[in-house]
Symmetry: C2
Subunit: 365 residues, 2 copies
């Protein structure tokens, strides 16, 4: 996991330079339309009074915080608007370490690589706990890993890269683990709109002073570039998080916040259902083709990634580059996500996902 | 300097709740129009392809970095687009500390309060060095303060809150100081478009591996809420800064970057001159009225603040609240900016600045 020259840039550049058509399944930026109201919100903002071009409150536009608080069933004072879930997770990990109740962050393996990167930057020790074979959380292993050194356990459901969804029982066990070890449960729920299992449970369901939930509108509204996320902190931790947010970023971008606020108010369930249906169809078509290719994969219950491996074809950078050149498909090597160097990750955020799967099915691994 | 409940929120709330008309000279958000091209850039962005709503490169839109690099005369690889100068200064201080060449950050007194806040959050020791009576840098005192423990000296010219502008000789002395003590000179130049003295010199004039320059479009384009800033790092420090930026924020907001790019390309010198003329007139009118009120103040050479004191009327929070209630003028207590508890700061970012000055001239201090 090298953060200096992100591997995904390298692979995207390699794919762009290839002497053939390549389907990009590398990065996680949605390819579908943002809500109409979001575009309208940006237009309205652009015509606003000069005062609207100035600093919003450091913790975000009050109306946006209230809309989020109402939807999540929490007090508005617990909500901090951040520069995407990226900053929300940074603030949450910092909050865990500032409690001086341990310096270890427990993560899953495979893991979204920014988590260990953030934790290490903040001075934490990182402990990776392998997931179960079906991608689900190995609750007993997580419990075994926890100790008085545990500052936080950070989980992501629906999961990037496995597509696993953690049910209520699993999430409650993690909240209990945090309480038992005087740690925080940090629950990154950015893919909460993409649960195909019906089993997703937010960590906010467990009203605990040991739970921080992070989220963003990047995936639900297909706007990773707008950088509007949020964290819901327990009341006793929110002031310190707000201070760090102010000292790092002052505040987040106001045009983005205004546009998301408008979209949040005016976008009906049809929009979210359409995106979910689109992705479910892509996943079905893609995994059908993987079956035809004889690949092993974790069947996604949520999100929009497929974590897979091909017999005798480990997911090394060399092999990923071979897939670009010889199959016309670009994906991410598995060791980006921890120790899974046999695996690769496909991000199904292109209308050509099914075509890519057929190329894989036709490829002689 | 309390970051948990920012004093300026308290004073703005106090002013808003007052039972009379109050002129707000508290916060530093411009009250004039952003460039027309910036509004047009937001409109165009709002109509863009869905792909434009996704992550820009982590270090910012390439075209924006190139426009900045060309204007600043530096290699584009040295430019990182940040979430305002706030994040740029955070990255610069972190870069200084990560060099493991000292843990002390030297700042001026008075000081923009976010600087010591960021430095302390990052684990630095902070040393405040009083400025000269005219607000200028006391170069000898800065040199005396520097030692092998010095990680960075951070200066701000044109200055908030004093309005001082540091000339070429002063800036060169600071660059030399950084080289002599194996430290960084961090030069925050966000008010560079508001130099009324003609003496402003960017630290980039001294081609040194010990110089980091931070800046933003917040003040020059009157868009503090858009959060587009940048840092120019020496080549050997840029990778680590880029990594921290990615791990904290992933990237900055793309609508804001697109709008600033458009404005940077299409806004002529007339726009910047008009803002500068407006502020110079406000400063002249305001300081004339302060003369009439018998106040002492530092005559601003740049930026848009006036740092002043009134005989027998120290700038305590109580007195600031009295000015709200009895004079109808809201300002910032001086101890927000270091040890200057006799002083207050007026931000001239309201068309009613001159009216406020007349209220002060009429007030019986």
């Amino acid at each position: 996991m090298d953060y200096d020259t992100p591997l995904f840039f390298h692979i995207m550049q390699y794919a762009a330079a290839a002497d053939r058509d390549v389907i990009d399944l590398v990065s996680g930026g949605p390819d579908w339309e943002p809500p109409t109201a979001l575009r309208e919100g940006l237009h309205d903002y652009a015509d606003g009074d000069p005062a609207e071009f100035q600093y919003p409150p450091s913790d975000g536009l009050r109306d946006l915080r209230e809309e989020i608080a109402a939807r999540r069933g929490v007090d508005v004072d617990r909500v901090v608007i951040t520069n995407g879930a990226g900053e929300a997770n940074y603030l949450a990990i910092a909050a865990a370490l500032e409690r001086d109740a341990g310096s270890e962050i427990i993560l899953t393996d495979p893991v979204y690589p920014y988590y260990p990167g953030k934790a290490q930057m903040l001075g934490a020790d990182v402990r990776l706990v392998p997931v179960a074979d079906d991608g689900g959380l190995d609750v007993a292993a997580m419990q075994d890993a926890a100790s008085e050194e545990t500052a936080a356990v950070l989980v992501n459901s629906p999961n990037n890269p496995t597509g696993a969804v953690y049910d209520a029982e699993t999430m409650e066990a993690m909240a209990d683990l945090a309480e038992d070890h005087d740690a925080l449960l940090i629950s990154d729920e950015v893919y909460d709109h993409y649960d195909y299992s019906g089993r997703f449970e937010s960590a906010l369901a467990f009203d605990s002073p040991h739970v921080v939930v992070t989220n963003s509108f990047s995936k639900s509204m297909a706007v990773t570039g707008l950088r509007v996320g949020y964290a819901v902190f327990p009341p006793h931790l929110v002031d310190a998080a707000r201070t760090r947010h102010m000292l790092v970023n002052v505040t987040g971008a106001r045009p983005s916040q205004a546009a998301v606020l408008r979209a949040l108010r005016e976008t009906g369930p049809d929009y979210y259902e359409a995106s979910r249906d689109l992705l479910r169809e892509r996943i079905d078509a893609f995994t059908d083709a993987l079956d035809a290719a004889g690949a092993e994969y974790i069947a996604p219950e949520g999100a929009f990634y497929v974590f897979a491996r091909f017999e005798g074809f480990p997911g090394t950078l060399d092999n990923v580059e071979r897939l670009v050149d010889e199959a016309g498909v670009a994906c991410m090597p598995g060791d980006t996500f921890g120790t899974y160097d046999e695996w690769v990750r496909f991000a199904l955020v292109t209308p050509r996902a099914e075509e890519a799967a057929h190329r894989l099915a036709d490829y002689d691994f």
